[in-house]
């Protein structure tokens, strides 16, 4: 009996000790070290048509870096759906990569964790200075008034991609500039099993991007100046309803799109099943699906007035991929060198050209390669009529809460249930109430 009691006491002691030490959690704070100067681990987000394609694109560049610096970069391409979870797990355990890609909409949320290296003036100077980057891209890399949590790598903006053949067949001469025109064109295109517009109804992030932009056009931000959610404002409700109505009322989106979450809308577009899609840098995906550049065109995303600009004429979010460094890296100098390499003019031109994105580095952006008609649209949108998503620490919650509400509304529309101002408001109300902080 005494032995059992002793064993129990030891067990309890060990578990408490482990619990207490475990509670320390996470990584060692501080600014990293140079204990392992010859290697780096890099998590790249999946940018191209597949993970394999990304590996092929990045491998020669990493070899180039190794040749220049003697630092070997271990690459892992992480699919978008897994990336945020992987980053969270790495943050909690302290066992992450040295350098990683983050979606720029997560910047403020990840900044709040304190796990990423802040890009102070000194750090920016180490990679050539903050002035090299387009200001709007840097602004979407962290909360206002704080040092950015990452450095812009690829900039993206939304455009309206349209299938030239479908347009010609329907007798439409130019892409729509206003939403009314889009709906009218969409109705002409939606017949014989084909549809006017594509959507990704079960993709929460995409739902957020689209409704945020429409929200801007209706004068709604989804958050007030203090960072408190305002999901049920009239503008926000009208924006969400307008988006869902493309399926529910205007019937220019196929009901099946309500369950899309794996870029199926791009496949439908490439196959000619839908004639328009609102997307960011879709060129490489279209090419991988057998489309030739002359098969499709890109135009600015419509706005009510027909002329994109600031405020109510915003027609895109400032989208993009940033490059961050984990604060507890064992190769801080190497990590900065790698960020410098990836944001160098040469790499910026090469990689952004390959991915169909726009370089956030001013000097690289001036390259002729980015003057092609579709990229010129993205570049102009970024410069003139794109707004960053709210840079609040609970942005991730916003994406989930409102993204899910929009997903459920798509399901209602697809099932033929009425989508009214009241039903939209009720869903958004519920979403707002789940925001705890």
């Amino acid at each position: 009996m005494r032995t059992i009691r002793a064993a129990a006491a030891v067990t309890l002691a060990i578990s408490i000790a482990a619990g207490v030490t475990g509670c320390g959690g996470g990584s060692s704070s501080g600014g990293g070290s140079n204990d392992s100067p010859k290697t780096l681990t890099y998590w790249a987000s999946n940018q191209g048509p597949s993970i394999e394609a990304d590996k092929k694109i990045l491998a020669p560049e990493l070899k180039k870096f190794e040749k220049q610096t003697g630092i070997k970069v271990k690459l892992e391409v992480v699919p978008w759906a897994d990336l945020l979870n992987r980053i969270l797990a790495a943050t909690t355990s302290g066992q992450g990569p040295d350098v990683l890609n983050i979606g720029n909409t997560w910047s403020a949320s990840l900044q709040a964790t304190g796990a990423l290296l802040p890009w102070t003036k000194e750090n920016f100077d180490a990679i050539g200075g903050r002035d090299r980057f387009v200001e709007s891209a840097v602004a979407s890399a962290g909360a206002e008034g704080k040092d950015p949590s990452a450095v812009p790598l690829y900039s993206l903006a939304y455009a309206l991609y349209y299938n030239k053949k479908s347009f010609a067949e329907a007798g439409i001469e130019k892409p729509p500039a206003t939403w009314d025109e889009l709906v009218a064109d969409g109705k002409k295109l939606s017949k014989n099993g084909k549809w006017g517009l594509g959507a990704e109804g079960s993709n929460l992030s995409n739902n957020i991007h689209q409704t945020f932009v429409l929200g801007q056009q209706h004068g709604a931000d989804f958050f007030d100046a203090e960072g408190k959610p305002t999901f049920t404002s009239d503008g926000a409700v009208a924006a969400v309803k307008q988006y869902i109505d493309f399926m529910a009322k205007d019937k220019i989106i196929a009901p099946g799109n309500a369950e899309y979450a794996q870029n199926q809308s791009l496949t439908d577009f490439a196959k000619g099943k839908t004639a328009m899609v609102l997307w960011q840098a879709a060129a490489s995906t279209f090419a991988s699906q057998g489309m030739k550049p002359e098969d499709w065109g890109a135009a600015p995303v419509p706005v009510a007035s027909g002329t994109p600009g600031q405020g109510k004429n915003t027609n895109s979010m400032v989208a993009g991929i940033n490059m961050a460094v984990f604060k507890n890296t064992k190769n801080i100098d190497g990590a900065k060198k790698f960020v410098k390499f990836m944001t160098s003019d040469a790499e910026q031109k090469l990689l952004n050209k390959t991915y169909g994105s726009i370089p956030p580095v001013k000097t690289a952006q001036a390259d002729e390669a980015f003057s092609a008609p579709d990229l010129a649209v993205l570049r102009d949108t970024l410069a003139k009529s794109a707004a960053p998503l709210p840079q609040v620490p609970n942005e991730s919650q916003f994406e989930t809460a409102v993204g899910t509400a929009v997903k459920e509304l798509w399901a209602d529309a697809a099932a033929g249930r009425p989508v009214t101002t009241e039903s939209v408001k009720a869903r958004l109300e519920k979403a707002q109430q789940t925001m705890q902080q």
């Binding site: 619990g19 959690g25 196929a254 919650q397 399901a411 697809a414 099932a415």
Partner: protein, 336 residues
């Protein structure tokens, strides 16, 4: 110097032990004292298992419970020991059914209960039926047994993602058969969103779970003496009577464990809904495991998520205890 002293004292001790023994060359080796051999050795042998159990179960559980009392959000992920204590706040939020978070948790609890009832019930039914059917020896029995076990042998992710493809509205096999070929529905149905999602979930779960029931019941059937059936058949009992009066009562202990294990696995199942629906399951199929995951890892409220996990653990503990109590009472009754 110290080492010498220690060695000397050890030798001295071992001599003393030896001198108390029966003498001879063999007895000069240090012996494991009787007290340790009789009382401690089993515990010593259990130690590796205890340590592993601590590492794999107890410590994470303790950490989880600690987290549930903290205000643990994205601000503290990097240093979660620094998250402020919040007392029972997380629990209050989780059980307040008048507020959206508690209401949604209660809803997902009910969804999970309904799902578990049908998924476990059907998996058990199919498993038992298949095992009984394959009890008789016939040509091809081995092949059938192997085929029946395929869903159990397949990696969950690959199997469920295939189901997700089949359930797609426009290109999936299910609608192709139900709508295009058999004409059973007016228009192609949605399975991965909306009202039907719970059916999709149950179908995949049953498909995945019944081979386990089949395997266990098949093993249980091996222990029923053939003579019982022979005697029953001489007495004129038909096949149904044999199943009711011999097979099922004899399988009772096996079924008790089987149903409990299936219940626990199904109630907690995370892989099936996650692969089928992604991180935001439709309302009708919002299982509690996904709901807790979403509260913790998607909306970054780890404290509330931990509190929900602890509540789930308590619920499962109570259900298991009641179940074991009832079934053991039944067994005692049967034994008496």
């Amino acid at each position: 110097m110290t080492a010498t002293v220690t060695t000397d004292s050890l030798t001295e001790k071992s001599d003393r032990v030896t001198s108390r023994g029966n003498g001879g060359a063999r007895r000069r080796l240090p012996r494991i004292p009787d007290r340790i051999r009789q009382g401690g050795l089993p515990y010593l042998l259990l130690l590796p298992a205890v340590l592993l159990e601590l590492l794999v179960h107890v410590i994470p559980m303790v950490i989880g419970i600690v987290m549930s009392f903290r205000q643990f959000t994205q601000f503290y992920i990097n240093n979660w020991g620094g998250a402020p204590w919040s007392g029972f706040d997380n629990y209050k939020i989780a059980v307040d059914v008048n507020a959206p978070i508690g209401e949604a948790l209660l809803h997902s609890f009910f969804v999970t209960c309904v799902f578990t009832f049908f998924a476990v019930g059907l998996a058990w039914l199919f498993g038992v039926a298949a095992a009984i059917m394959l009890q008789e020896n016939f040509r091809g029995r081995g092949i059938l047994r192997a085929i029946f076990l395929v869903p159990y042998a397949l990696p969950v992710y690959a199997a469920v993602i295939t189901w997700a493809f089949m359930f797609q509205r426009d290109n999936g096999l299910i609608n192709h058969v139900l709508h295009d070929q058999l004409g059973l529905t007016d228009q192609p149905s949605f399975w991965l969103i909306g009202d039907n999602s719970i059916y999709a979930l149950i179908i995949v779960s049953v498909w995945k779970g019944w081979p386990f029931a089949f395997l266990i019941v098949m093993a249980g059937l091996q222990n029923i003496p053939r003579e019982l059936y022979e005697a029953a058949s001489i007495d004129g009992a038909g096949i149904w009577q044999q199943i009711r009066k011999i097979t099922l009562p004899s399988l009772r202990p096996v079924n008790q464990v089987l149903v409990l294990v299936l219940f626990l696995w199904t109630f907690n199942d995370f892989n099936t809904p996650y692969v089928l629906f992604g991180k935001a399951a439709p309302e009708n199929a919002d299982l509690i495991s996904i709901h807790i995951y979403q509260s913790s890892f998607v909306t970054w409220n780890f404290g509330t998520g931990s509190a929900m996990s602890v509540l789930l653990l308590l619920f499962l503990l109570v259900v298991t205890a009641v179940y074991l109590l009832i079934t053991s009472r039944g067994r005692k009754g049967a034994d008496a």
